[in-house]
Symmetry: C2
Subunit: 284 residues, 2 copies
């Protein structure tokens, strides 16, 4: 049964609520989202609740991080449904600003990270990470949480956020939350809603394929060889492959030949839908 969740829409009201918690000695965690809440987001709320006394969830579909041909206008929006789900999951407050509150007239500031962003999703989505870095900087400074939680599904994004938070001395701890998957392995994503029934049947092959890469790497197969085999497999199944990559898990630098610790990351298109996923390769 959905409880109601308190909702604020301005920086002023958000800060007033957070200040009251601080006054009472409570700690605060922030879970930034673009709405279209699924069990992946809810797992981040659960994690946030285990790390802080109060959990703020933000809901803002950030225009800055969408390219001109991307799905900003089509992105699924249903605040009432999201609010109910977040309340049930234990979020104490929903922060849902409108675009005018986030980007007032004359807005002209950008936060950008030059390292980590050039390739992988940065190559096919120019300006995407600038948009992420700018809005996340704002959300962190608006809310001033002790911790902020981001899903590992957007693994490159998580590293970018950790980088600018360190570089700019934003006083918050960034925590990554594990990927939540469907029973067949498909990583939960708001964009899975775009998949046709036929595409939905094929989609889990993405996860199966990168797990195969991780297994191959663990057995000593070379990184270039394993990722090339994965690309062939995905293309033969009907995916258009943006990248399949084996990278250093901290720096995202490319790895070649046999690896120890690594991250396997992939982005593909299935029809009109872009899907991303990643899995760790444990140190041998």
């Amino acid at each position: 049964m959905a409880r109601s969740i308190d909702t604020v829409r301005t920086v002023h009201d958000l800060r007033t609520r957070v200040a009251a918690w601080r006054e009472a000695g409570e700690t605060v965690a922030l879970v930034p989202t673009m709405g279209a809440i699924h069990a992946g987001h809810l797992s981040l709320v659960t994690l946030a609740n285990s790390l802080a006394d109060r959990v703020v969830t933000s809901l803002f579909v950030n225009p800055l991080q969408f390219g001109p041909r991307e799905d900003f206008h089509a992105y699924p929006r249903d605040e009432a449904r999201d609010a109910a789900a977040l309340s049930d999951a234990g979020s104490d407050l929903l922060y849902a600003p409108d675009a005018g509150e986030m980007y007032p007239p004359g807005f002209s500031t950008k936060v950008s990270v030059s390292d980590l962003t050039e390739d992988l999703c940065g190559a096919s989505r120019p300006n995407h990470f600038d948009g992420v870095a700018t809005v996340v900087t704002k959300l962190l400074l608006q809310c001033a949480p002790d911790k902020a939680i981001f899903g590992e599904k957007d693994y490159q994004q998580l590293l970018v956020i950790k980088r600018f938070v360190r570089d700019l001395n934003i006083p918050v701890e960034i925590v990554g939350g594990a990927i939540v998957r469907e029973a067949d392995g498909l990583a939960l994503s708001s964009r899975n809603a775009y998949l046709s029934p036929a595409e939905r049947t094929i989609a889990p092959v993405l996860h199966q394929t990168i797990c195969q890469v991780a297994d191959d790497l663990a057995k000593g197969r070379g990184a270039d060889d394993a990722s090339e085999a994965a690309r062939f497999k995905l293309e033969s199944e009907g995916f258009r492959v943006d990248y399949v990559a084996v990278r250093d898990p901290e720096t995202l630098k490319p790895l070649h030949g046999p690896v120890t610790a690594a991250r396997v990351l992939a982005a593909v298109h299935l029809g009109k839908t872009r899907l991303i996923d990643n899995v760790p390769v444990p140190a041998r």
Copy 2:
């Protein structure tokens, strides 16, 4: 007689000191400087003391805001002298980080403002305002003051800082401090130390000339006409003129013809030294 001033060199130590003041209910103002302290800086410390219980002065010669052919290495440095002067002026703490504390290995984040920075000093000093925005964002987030004080001599810089502080929701009030001048009108600047005796004699003509522009504007003379006359005057006195401009005092948009409220801004070279100055034109 110089008192000693407490000095910290790390973000951790700075935050520990500021947290203790907060715990005691005290407010904090930050005065960011690049050292080479003169009476202009000290007036900002005095202003800061009138606005907050505690005053932190930072001293960091920021490499990011110097161009490759500018005077980063030659910039005057004398921390002991600066520390004594700041202590006498009533600063409670000196924060003097080294470059490794500000820009650790892997540093790769930039704060940039697209509006306000394209021309005037931005035209001749590419990347300068990115460097300012990045380091000031860091200093503000490191110290977390209630107010931060910047001199109006760097008028364009002051507007840029106000802009990104608003845009990124940095929770601080930015306060401008009036320009302090020598008896002959020359605006105090750390770079005045570079002037030869002959150049020092000529230098006050910069202030005299932009005051003449302001007078002319107040009498209804057109902005283009008045600034062109000023350029001619400065060049005939031996200055190499970077710009003399009449601008909107808030947006820095160019003004033409008769004006009401405006700011007259100028940048010139005198020998190897770059000098800037500005004066208000009151609304008629």
